[in-house]
């Protein structure tokens, strides 16, 4: 075994993941599809339910994109742009199953692996090493294995750290073979000519860098003293400075799927603007039930409860949280606080999205007894409700208020991440 001097980090991004899974699942298109030619795919889009607000394009195949279809476009517009467009409803559980299996393949191929999202993950291997003498060849082999087994194309960026691997991945999109490696000594030469908008993770900060600092390229950002960046962006200034110099100290966390939760948060976008307090309360209570159930399943309880409202047009709103004297995962203890937050901060505008969060978590290994409530009885009660729901589904036991027109739980129970399961 040769002496390792560094690790190479890889970032995998699966191409148009939801659409690719749907295309791969349909034998009609199997014959003509080729790994290196995505024009052999049909023009297909995965779209939400047209009857509700979710009637938008969630994912589109490269062929559909070339015809003018874009993610987040309304279904009607997409069909105008591409009349031949094949539309399918999302099957989220299928995508999650395929995702976990692809991730497993990556996990088994390299010494370190870390998931990032449903269609992205990181891996790492030592360099130089006898096991991976040619990094690009190793990445290509993985890419071909994923294609052979799942008929899903992916692209891979290789670099000395996670952030650079993500940036290299962007270049891989435009590179035949789908794999790009930025060795340590070439990182800055590759990075600095790129436009500042291409710096991953900056979001609106890229606009500030352009307008306030006159930056056009990442190289321009690298020339700004870190103090000035810190003045403008706070702690993010330091992050931006590091990234512009090709540095990212983020480690690999292989067990991230099993790391205890830092917090639980559930959010729903409503089918219309809710203007009545009673209607909003129905949804708040439903989300609180979901958050508490997740906490109980993980054996955790939280001290801080948060409420977020997004107003009509999905613009504006607030997020406020309150810390309680002791941790809990029982809705009846948390709901009054959420109502107080609602009454204090809601300005009466129409509400289009609601979120409830629970954090400052501790392990639920001891009961906080109360003089006024029969805590062991309530604990048994919720355990029973959780068991019934786990066995017969989320709607097997629900609150009567969820049967009101404002209730969303029956709709949500059929979905994953807001899309059809």
């Amino acid at each position: 075994m040769s002496e390792w001097s560094e690790w190479i980090v890889g970032h995998i991004d699966m191409q148009s993941f939801y659409a690719s899974v749907e295309i791969a699942a349909d034998p009609r298109w199997a014959e003509r599809r080729q790994l290196e030619d995505d024009l052999t795919d049909p023009p297909l889009a995965v779209t939400g339910d047209p009857k509700r607000r979710s009637g938008i394009v969630l994912a589109a195949s490269p062929t559909a994109k070339r015809a003018g279809v874009d993610t987040a476009m309304r279904l009607g517009e997409a069909l105008q742009a591409c009349p031949r467009l094949v539309t399918v409803r999302p099957r989220m559980q299928l995508y999650l199953d395929i995702s976990v299996r692809v991730h497993d393949m990556v996990r088994m191929a390299f010494p370190l692996y870390e998931p990032f999202s449903v269609d992205e993950c990181f891996f790492a291997f030592p360099w130089p090493s006898d096991l991976f003498p040619d990094p690009v060849a190793a990445a290509r082999r993985l890419r071909e294995q994923i294609w052979d087994q799942f008929r899903i194309r992916c692209r891979i960026g290789l670099a000395p750290n996670k952030w650079c691997a993500k940036m290299a991945n962007k270049r891989a999109k435009k590179t035949p073979g789908g794999v790009v490696w930025w060795p340590r000594e070439r990182v800055l030469a590759e990075l600095h000519p790129l436009p500042v908008e291409e710096m991953w993770g900056l979001r609106r900060r890229a606009e500030v860098l352009k307008a306030q600092f006159g930056c056009r390229t990442i190289g321009d950002v690298a020339r700004i003293p870190v103090g000035r960046l810190r003045d403008a962006f706070g702690v993010w200034g330091e992050v931006i400075h590091r990234w512009a110099h090709g540095m990212d100290p983020s480690g690999m966390h292989p067990g991230t799927m099993r790391v205890p939760h830092q917090g639980f948060s559930n959010r729903t976008t409503l089918p219309r603007d809710y203007v009545e307090r009673a209607d909003i309360c129905v949804v708040v209570l439903e989300l609180l039930d979901e958050v508490c159930e997740r906490a109980r399943q993980a054996g955790q309880a939280g001290r801080r409860i948060g409420l977020g409202l997004t107003y009509e047009g999905l613009t504006g709103g607030f997020y406020r949280a309150k810390t309680l004297p002791w941790p809990t995962n029982r809705p009846e203890e948390l709901y009054p606080t959420l109502l107080a937050l609602l009454d204090r901060h809601w300005d009466g505008r129409g509400v289009r999205a609601v979120s409830v969060s629970l954090d400052m978590l501790t392990w639920e290994n001891s009961l906080q007894l109360s003089l006024f409530a029969d805590v062991p009885r309530r604990t048994r009660y919720w355990r029973t409700v959780d068991e019934i729901r786990a066995r017969f589904g989320e709607t097997a036991v629900m609150r009567a208020s969820s049967l009101l027109p404002a209730g969303q739980i029956r709709e949500r129970a059929r979905k994953i991440g807001g899309h059809w399961a």
């Binding site: 559980q93 998931p115 999202s117 480690g251 966390h253 799927m257 639980f264």
Partner: protein
């Protein structure tokens, strides 16, 4: 913001649905489930011989049965009735024997 200060920015920006975690956990549990060993023809024939002989002579056998958590031991006298094997235990119970769970049969 702690993650960002610590430089562990990807942990803070990760997008994993709770259902994704749950699916990964289900696959992990399936992967780690104990599987009963594949027994050879010879081993199966030998176990069948010991069981038949013990049933004919009403002698006890010691059975090792596969279980997800931990293999179980069972001591009793086998009886073959209506094409099924039953085990009469010392404490007077009569238990049906699931042949798929039998890993080993020894004279008791």
């Amino acid at each position: 913001m702690t993650s960002i200060r610590d430089g562990n920015i990807f942990a803070a920006m990760r997008l994993l649905l709770p259902e994704h975690r749950a699916t990964a956990e289900t696959y992990r549990q399936q992967r780690e489930r104990r599987q009963p060993p594949e027994l050879s023809e010879d081993a199966l024939t030998e176990m069948q011989f010991i069981l038949q002989k013990a049933a004919a002579r009403r002698k006890p056998v010691r059975l090792t049965l596969f279980d997800q958590a931990q293999d179980e031991m069972l001591l009793g006298i086998p009886e073959i009735r209506d094409g099924r094997i039953w085990i009469h235990t010392e404490d007077g119970r009569r238990l049906p024997l699931d042949g798929r769970r039998v890993l080993r049969v020894e004279p008791g």
